[in-house]
Amino acid sequence: MDLKSFLSEKRQAVLERWLDYVLSSYPSQTAEFLKNRKNQFANPVGNIISEGIGGVFDAVLADLEAGGQSDSGVADFLENIIKVRAIQDFSASEALGFVFSLKRAVRGEIDALGEDGEGFYKELGRLDGSVDKIALAAFDVYVRCREKIYELKADEVRKHTFRLLQQANLICETLPRKGGENDDNPEEKIG
């Protein structure tokens, strides 16, 4: 069996380990809530995280299969998680550290096999490559989220002053003339 099939088989177990690593970045009392409350509306953070890491994991598997050549986007899944982590009380390294802990989760699962798992160690280099790729993508998403937050702050100020500027004839008056609300400028969106 190659690493990819092994991981597909052990998907649930690896994800559980990984989730535990991710949640351990939260205070324990919070982690318990995030883990145990299953309702996606009563516990959006926990659900976004569990769904998100599932998606990222599948992307890693796809990348392994494609020999590190997969360019299918993981951005969506990453984005959902990172959007949440970008506004929680984390530094950038803490917010993104969860990506790397996938390596530990996989190794933990292989270690559990004892001698039977030795064959997989050779392939771990490739896995690490895929994870690193995603970590870099995660960095982009994180920066976009933080930029978005500052943009939102600026937007609110702009909306508050727009009419004043308009009155002072500092803005030429043409329709449409919105204050940035739902601008369909893809550059500005997170995703």
């Binding site: 324990s28 009392q29 318990e32 809530f33 145990n36 409350r37 299953k38 309702n39 996606q40 509306f41 009563a42 659900n47």
Partner: protein
């Protein structure tokens, strides 16, 4: 720690009786003085607390509305969840007091995604809370047989209902089982659900241990270490008729039961157990949402300093005139 001290406290209370009654033979103290004192404390305390709440004004009309308001005639009002009159309020309060309506609401939000782990603690809280309180009420009613000449009809009915399963000898009362199970559950959830454990105080554990001990001593007396019912009734009738006398041949177990109940009575008014009275006075539940229809009076409403229109016009008269806004003084 927060659970351990209250546990010790209850053990201590039990030991106190054993020492007091068995070795020191303080029958009169534990059988007469303490129960009377506890009852007096209970009555005085409950009246004091309730009067204190009741005499504190309700300055504003602040019901929490949980349904459609009374509005245009063709829009159906939710008369119980958002009552506009006394009738609706009474039904809302009855549902709250007898069915724990608000706790029940938790059920609705419990939607599980897929057939994964189910986690229904909220529903269980409602069920356990309801079982506990109803069982307690039934048990109290059943105990009236010890304080009345003969056994009144209502008490007999309750006893009949309660033992309809017809198992065991003496017949097992369903509420005895429910009571112990519910209190145990309430304790277990307090120590196992991390959020609840985190917010719990010693004052939350003490009543649970106390109730558990009361329940256990009662069950022991009825089903296992049978006490002499006739002597007990003679004794309790003495208490009720204010001619208390110690009846010989009543086991220490009974005194333990009596003392723990006395403790509960004396403790009740000074603790969170007063929620029983408080629920009736809660202004978010016992008011109708009719504050646009009928003026609610605040007894301590006082005049406040305002910025009058005249002062405002003084500040902005020229600007108002320039913008074509009418002014009082040209």
């Amino acid at each position: 720690m927060k659970a351990f001290l209250p546990f010790l406290a209850v053990i201590f209370l039990v030991l106190l009786v054993i020492v007091g009654v068995k070795t020191a033979s303080l029958y009169f103290l534990f059988g007469v003085v303490v129960p009377y004192a506890a009852l007096l404390t209970f009555l005085a305390g409950v009246v004091y607390r309730t009067v204190k709440w009741g005499t504190t004004p309700v300055p504003f009309h602040i019901p929490t509305t949980c349904g459609q308001q009374k509005t245009l005639p063709w829009i159906k009002q939710s008369k119980i969840e958002n009552p506009s009159g006394t009738g609706g309020v009474i039904v809302r309060m009855l549902l709250e007091v007898f069915m724990f309506r608000s706790l029940f609401r938790n059920l609705k939000t419990e939607m599980h995604e897929g057939p994964k782990i189910t986690y229904g603690s909220d529903k269980w809280l409602w069920l356990a809370g309801l079982s506990f309180h109803w069982s307690f009420l039934f048990i109290v009613i059943r105990h009236l047989r010890f304080f009345t000449q003969g056994v009144p009809m209502p008490v007999q009915i309750v006893e009949g209902l309660d033992s309809f399963l017809q198992i065991g000898l003496p017949l097992v009362y369903i509420t005895d089982v429910l009571f112990l199970a519910a209190v145990t559950y309430l304790f277990i959830r307090r120590v196992t659900i991390p959020q609840v454990k985190y917010i719990s105080l010693a004052a939350d554990y003490f009543p649970l241990f106390l109730l558990l001990a009361i329940g256990c001593s009662g069950v022991l007396m009825r089903y296992f270490l049978r006490v002499d019912i006739v002597s007990v009734k003679t004794f309790t009738m003495g208490l009720v008729s204010l001619r208390p006398k110690i009846v010989p041949g009543i086991s220490t177990l009974f005194y333990i039961h009596l003392f723990l109940i006395s403790t509960l009575f004396a403790y009740f008014p000074w603790s969170k157990l007063m929620h029983m009275g408080g629920v009736f006075l809660s202004p978010t539940r016992n008011l109708a949402n009719n504050s646009r229809i009928k003026r609610h009076i605040n007894p301590w409403n006082y005049p406040v300093k305002v910025h009058t229109y005249a002062e405002y016009e003084e500040d902005f008269r020229e600007k108002m005139k320039m913008a074509g806004v009418p002014v009082e003084k040209e």
